[in-house]
């Protein structure tokens, strides 16, 4: 069980990074920048050690930056997300508390739960990313607008991926 967990998580990391770097970074959508790679951090098992989550977030951000001339933007925003994940999971825990083998994904926790969880997590990540990108609060509303349209695009792709894999599991 443990080995299977590790391998499936590793494959998910690699696939999401590849999807981001090879396809989504190349899309000519102008102001909309679709970022899907935080999903890899979102879907780690609930009881992954916090230190490991933090380090994984850091290195994922590092690789994305490396491939997209990010200059540390992805690294900073994803590390912060990795740190905040456990607090978000605490507030979102089910009434009976988290179980040892729980995974915060759509198949186990349901569509509504995952909707709110991904909305909160991706909002944190996108806000950090876009405000760090302009590096100031000047043009506040233009940055907010950019964040919102990119957030919408990212979440659309994330939910499509999640729903697709949920359906597969039930069959």
């Amino acid at each position: 069980m443990n080995n299977k967990f590790i391998i499936s998580n590793l494959i998910r990391f690699i696939l999401l990074i590849a999807l981001q770097v090879l396809l989504l970074n190349e899309l000519p959508f102008g102001r909309v920048y679709i970022m899907v790679y935080p999903l890899a951090i979102l879907l780690l098992p609930v009881f992954t050690p916090r230190l490991l989550v933090l380090l994984l977030a850091f290195f994922t951000g590092f690789i994305i930056d490396w491939f997209s001339n990010g200059g540390g933007l992805h690294m900073a925003s994803l590390t912060a997300l990795g740190y905040l994940r456990s607090y978000v999971l605490d507030t979102f825990q089910p009434r009976s508390g988290w179980d040892k083998l729980d995974v915060p994904n759509i198949s186990q926790q349901g569509i509504t739960w995952f909707f709110y969880y991904s909305l909160i997590m991706f909002s944190i990540h996108h806000l950090l990313y876009f405000f760090l990108e302009v590096f100031s609060f000047a043009n506040f509303f233009s940055t907010i607008f950019k964040t919102l349209i990119s957030l919408f695009g990212s979440l659309l792709v994330v939910w499509m991926i999640s729903l697709y894999f949920m359906r597969n599991k039930r069959i």
């Binding site: 770097v21 090879l22 970074n25 190349e26 899309l27 000519p28 959508f29 102008g30 102001r31 909309v32 920048y33 916090r50 230190l51 933090l54 380090l55 850091f58 951000g61 590092f62 930056d65 490396w66 491939f67 997209s68 001339n69 990010g70 200059g71 540390g72 933007l73 690294m75 900073a76 590390t79 912060a80 990795g82 740190y83 760090l132 990108e133 302009v134 590096f135 043009n139 233009s142």
Partner: protein, 274 residues
Amino acid sequence: MRSIYYLLTRFYVLILFVLLEIFALTTIYKSHKYQEVKFLNTTNKFTGTVLEYVNSINSFVHLGTNNKALVEENTRLRKLIEYQDKYPSDSTLPGYSASYHFDYIPAKIVNNTISKSINYITIDKGAKDGIVKGLGVVSSNGVVGIVTNVSENFSLVMSVVSVKTLIGVRHKNTNAIGNLRWNGESPFLLQVDGFSKTLPIKKNDTILTAGFSSIFPPNIIVATVKNLEPDESTSFYIMDVELSNNINSLSYVYVVKNDKKKELDSLQIQMLNE
């Protein structure tokens, strides 16, 4: 001692988080300050090669538009050759005039973005092809950007679609001088400031490079005027322009090398010092 140990075991995640975040923020700060991505960029061999492979698909998609642009450029050059043969003593022609000393190095685009506030383009020519930092990059019908990083085999070009862009431009009909900038909003509309309200500027007018800097050759088409209205509070126009080349679908570009750049720059520095 025991309390330090206690603190470390209790807060090691927080401490590590703060350290990693400081590292990341320093990197961001440096890339903002020096206008270049010092490390973590796509000019190294691994990312460059991977992106080069991926981009072969992208360039295939835009094959039609790129062919058309190249044919148009060819036609223009053929006309120029014919003109040159007809009037061999015209002093404005390349080869005769003293103002032409630009060399062009062809390069292929490996990676290109337009969705960020500072956009970078990776090209497949580097230090071993004679590219150095600060050279201008043009396409067959417009300007593309300025080289900011050079590695052995690849270079990074800061695209004109970047908030730090500042290129001297000239209005074709009136010869007025202005600056090309980008406000970070739509990547298809750039802004030009410095054109006085008294000038007869209309929509669809052409904007050319001014050629005062040693980076871009003069009289390269940059953009056409899209929206314009007089600014109430100043004596200038507020102007949106559309780039003449579609930055997004470019596949091939030329790096402009000015063999008199050093001389010109040192002269200007000398002037500033006096």
